[in-house]
Symmetry: C2
Subunit: 193 residues, 2 copies
DNA sequence: GTAATTATTTAACAAATGTTAAATGATTAT
DNA sequence: ATAATCATTTAACATTTGTTAAATAATTAC
């Protein structure tokens, strides 16, 4: 059985909706496992995102090109779903690029399989809704942190909530994520210790 | 028939999923229309949000108390859905407060009716997912604007995208929404003209 | 193992935004 | 109509963050 391999994914899913063995297996059967080397891309600019990934190992980052520069908009923690959502939803070319910060193992589901699951098992549609709800709430939390908190506070909170991220992810990405420049982050780190 | 009254709502919904007359009427039948006077609340602090509102007239704002001060986190444009989502999803007391900036007419759906719709008509579940997806994308756009844009740029873009909002909503709420102080907004407005 | 590349820090100065306080304008209640 | 309240602006100064440039540290490729 593959439940051991997919342990983290199953655990994640079960937090939202309870599935029967059959329902779960239907999903696991259409998963493709891919390994990405550091800096390899999961979604390229201009490409239509037709897959969604669960990060079983490693970190992904979502970035886009702004004024010729890469700006990291998001860093996915372990064991979360990631895709270039605007592209995935509307099937338009993606301006977001997703690439591996470290070597990654991804559990990948193709959009057409997902759409089938949605059609055949309404519970999966519910799961889709619930997971997006959670992503939305998290995104709002971030908006809220930009509105009320200083860069220093945002950094300190990230340090508490995802210490492993700060250990493993280059600071330039962390700085982008926090909405400040690398040098400002460096200054701020000194004052925080 | 009530389709005239609910014209904007129907138009909004039809952008996401196509419903039959019956499916649409099932939903419209459980709508409660409420009028809020300026400053009246739709969700109170500590209350469990069990309703979702479509803003047919007027603006709502979502705010919370931080350090004894009201901080406006969001201003809902006309013809959108609003609720205190973390509370609505998880049925926990809301830290977010929702109140009317101007006199409002809201089309309100109770959570239990919504849950019934989800159960009886899978298409509504799809609608729920699609609308949250859209809200998520919008929320991400905002995160992105905090990361890459100056307050001045954020203001200018708001001016272009929602000129009516800047006309109708007190600037202190706009300032919060943009993540800056009222005085900074004022200064910035002078330099923008 | 050494050179090349990439990551991080440091520092001086510039620009943006916050803070405090007050003045002016607009709206609302009586 | 007038006073009271609320909204917006202004200004001086403080703090935070950005910018440019360089130094140091760590990692990677050969």
């Amino acid at each position: 059985m593959h439940s051991e391999k997919f342990k983290n994914l199953i655990k994640f899913i079960s937090r939202f909706v309870e599935f029967t063995e059959l329902e779960m297996r239907t999903m696991l059967d259409c998963i493709e496992i891919i390994q990405l080397k550091k800096n390899e891309k999961f979604v390229n600019e201009g490409e239509i995102a037709n897959r969604i990934a669960f990060t079983n190992k490693g970190y992904l980052r979502v970035y886009y090109i702004f004024d010729g520069e890469e700006i990291t908009r998001d860093i996915t923690p372990l064991n979360t779903f990631a895709t270039a959502l605007p592209s995935f939803i509307s099937q338009i070319p993606s301006y977001e690029i997703i690439s591996a910060i470290s070597d990654c193992e991804l559990f990948v589901i193709h959009k057409k399989n997902l759409d089938n699951m949605y059609l055949n098992f309404p519970k999966w549609e519910r799961f889709g809704r619930r997971i997006i709800e959670e992503m939305f709430v998290e995104s709002q939390r971030r908006v809220y942190s930009f509105i009320t908190e200083s860069a220093e506070t945002r950094y300190k909170k990230l340090l508490i909530q995802h210490p492993e991220m700060i250990r493993d992810v280059p600071l330039k990405y962390i700085a982008d994520y926090l909405g400040i420049k690398l040098q400002s982050l460096s200054r701020l780190r000194k004052s925080v210790e």
